[in-house]
């Protein structure tokens, strides 16, 4: 491989990119914009759970309990119901996620220490929100019980001292933003390069390229270089947005993050070249690209749905999804401050992936030219 020819191809690619301001803007601004918009828009935090209240007791005691729910910050009282029969329509129509039912003799039962049951009806269709709401309600109720019970300090035989690591407040943004960077780069990287080969064919310059003495590896690498550069800038910009705008901590080494990004980008963009060179039809290439990168990156990468929860067979499948490794790396570096040692497995995964991506790209190219 000649370094001179390699850089000549890279220079040509840069010049071509610079003359096409639209794709340049797209390449630089798109990831930034998406991180900005989605980082702001999406959250998994369950706050302000919509609560409907059916207070059949209507005493100061029952109102105190309702206030305890309202003031917790986790529930917001949206509706007051009159009859038990109203609970179902409210939940079916989704006007509330939970209904708190305080029975008629609540205050009397509390005073008599007969054990006063309070019902919480949850819309279980959204299991995640319901589970979390149940936990919050439990805590609120225990607090209320401790208040009204005469035993002041309920003695606990075993106390659980909990400490949350890496993300002390359990804020979902800290989990989403590093994941988002990885997912967006997986989706965009292949797209950027799949366009460059398509462009050569469209403009008829591919034949000229074939007629020159460049080796196919030089073409593949030369074309990749500028895009890897762009991808790195994208990662850096998106990370900056995460850190400075969303307050996500970057605890680990930024250099390691960039190094891992290079590995990832080489693979993803190599794959883009392979797809567009191998499937001559643009429509097919895009269909394939979307099937291969889009949904797997979102759903099988551990971005939202934890890989540990998947059945074993699917966990094996997820090893073929590069976003999986990249997410482990971004989250590990951003939140856990782990280094090379803990990330070795993922980095090896990324290296294998990029070797495959580049190899496929080079092979497809040879067939193309022949």
């Amino acid at each position: 491989m000649s370094r001179r020819r390699l850089f000549a191809i890279a220079r040509k690619e840069v010049i071509q990119l610079a003359r096409d301001p639209r794709s340049l803007v797209l390449a630089f601004l798109l990831p930034l914009l998406l991180v900005l918009v989605f980082g702001y828009a999406i959250t998994l935090d369950v706050r302000d759970i919509r609560l409907a209240v059916l207070d059949l007791d209507a005493t100061s005691e029952s109102r105190r309990l309702v206030d305890a729910f309202a003031e917790s910050g986790y529930f917001s009282v949206r509706r007051r119901l009159e009859r038990y029969g109203d609970a179902e329509p409210v939940l079916v129509a989704g006007q509330a996620s939970a209904v708190l039912v305080i029975p008629r003799d609540f205050a009397a039962d509390v005073a008599a220490r007969r054990g006063a049951p309070v019902q919480l009806l949850l819309d279980g269709s959204d299991a995640n929100t319901a589970t979390i709401a149940m936990g919050y309600a439990d805590a609120i109720m225990s607090g209320f019980a401790a208040d009204v019970l005469p035993i002041r300090d309920v003695f606990l035989a075993v106390e659980a001292e909990t400490r949350v690591w890496y993300n002390q407040t359990l804020e979902s943004r800290n989990m989403i933003v590093p994941g988002l960077i990885a997912v967006l780069m997986s989706i965009i990287a292949a797209m950027l390069t799949s366009l460059t080969i398509a462009r050569e064919w469209e403009r008829g310059t591919m034949e000229q390229l074939v007629a020159t003495p460049v080796h196919r590896l030089e073409v593949v690498f030369g074309k990749l270089l500028p895009y890897v550069g762009i991808g790195l800038v994208d990662v850096a910009l998106a990370s900056a947005v995460g850190v400075f705008l969303f307050g996500v901590p970057l605890r680990g080494s930024a250099a390691l993050l960039l190094a891992a990004s290079v590995l990832f980008l080489l693979g993803a963009q190599g794959l883009g070249i392979f797809l567009s060179a191998a499937l001559r039809s643009q429509v097919l290439a895009t269909q394939a690209a979307i099937m291969v990168t889009y949904l797997p990156s979102l759903l099988l990468s551990g971005f939202v749905f934890a890989i540990a929860n998947m059945p074993a067979a699917l966990q094996v499948v997820s090893y073929a999804v590069p976003a999986r490794y990249f997410i482990t790396v971004t989250r590990g570096i951003f939140l856990k401050a782990v280094g090379l040692e803990a990330l070795l497995g993922s980095l090896i995964g990324l290296a294998i992936y990029s070797a495959i991506g580049l190899g496929l790209a080079a092979r497809a190219f040879r067939k193309e030219i022949a």
Binding site: L44, L120, A127, N128, V158, N167, N174, F305, A308
Partner: protein, 373 residues
Amino acid sequence: MTRLSPFRIRQIVRKEVRQLLRDPRSRPILFVAPVVQLLLFGYAVNTDVRSTPLAVLDLDRSAASRELVDELVAAGYFETVIQADRPRELVEALDRGQALIALEVPPRFSRDLASGRGAAVQLLVDGTDSNTGTIALGHARRTILAYSLEKGGLGESLAIGPRLEPRAWFNPSLESRVYNVPGVIGILILLMCLLLTSFSVVRERELGTLDQLRVSPVKPAELILGKTIPVAVVALIDLALITAVGTAWFDIPLKGSPLVLLAASLLFILSGLAAGLLISTVSKTQQEAFLTMYLVLLPSIILSGFFFPIHSMPELFQWVSFLNPVRYFLEIVRAIFLKGAGPVVLWPQFSALLILGTAGIAVAIRRFARSIA
């Protein structure tokens, strides 16, 4: 508008069907890919926090400490993956992500417990995945509290105080898959509609066959309808196929009426096709169509309520999501499947889909008519 000719529409439909099925490579994409994807992703979309990997450092090694660990594992929420000997190993297990939660039982645990002084254990939680962390922490705390009350003989005194009786309706076992599989169905159908229609007009334009169509007596509306009908049929077959597979395979109960579901599906496909046709008539080249589709797809998924709840989003994005057909489809499908809701409750979502679909197709036809005039 002059009257449409059913004959000419039929001719366009025939041409489109031939084009769709001609390439043998595209046939599996039409009918097999959606089913395979549903089976794959149906398993993935699971937020139930069960069998969370647990690392245990038991420095006490007593019957009491083993009992505590057994209690944690017995409920099915945790699975011991690592038995550590030194604190250092707990840190490593969390750092490497081998365990998401770690329990440290101090050496004096059973003695403290027996003496009545009160014992303490340490729980370390990996907060990287905030959702799993929150739920796993809740499970662990509840289990330890129950253990603690039992050991402290406090089970009775708590029974005299006010207590909460939670009941989950519609999905008593709180399985998240039941809620999420309909989401996957919606996304897959949207993807199908976009893939098949985004290129339909723009490809004819690039190949130059649009000119041939222009000199034929076919009217723009007839052309658009003729192009849309076969895709609608394919999408409907796909939808029936993956709904059947999804409900049977993943055991998702259909409480509502299948007819209402069919009506909702037709409306959703209509709006999906409208989105694709709009992309196709707005774009000048196939590449542009591809890029636009790529960009439209992401917000359609992320702002649909599929995995990020809409009511937690900032107001502005809640407004934006009103333009997203997937949002309405998900609301409808989840309500039909799990709550058995009918049109009486769901009419706002039905009307929204109808408006988005018809308006989109009307705009697409107008733009197209102007562009070839």
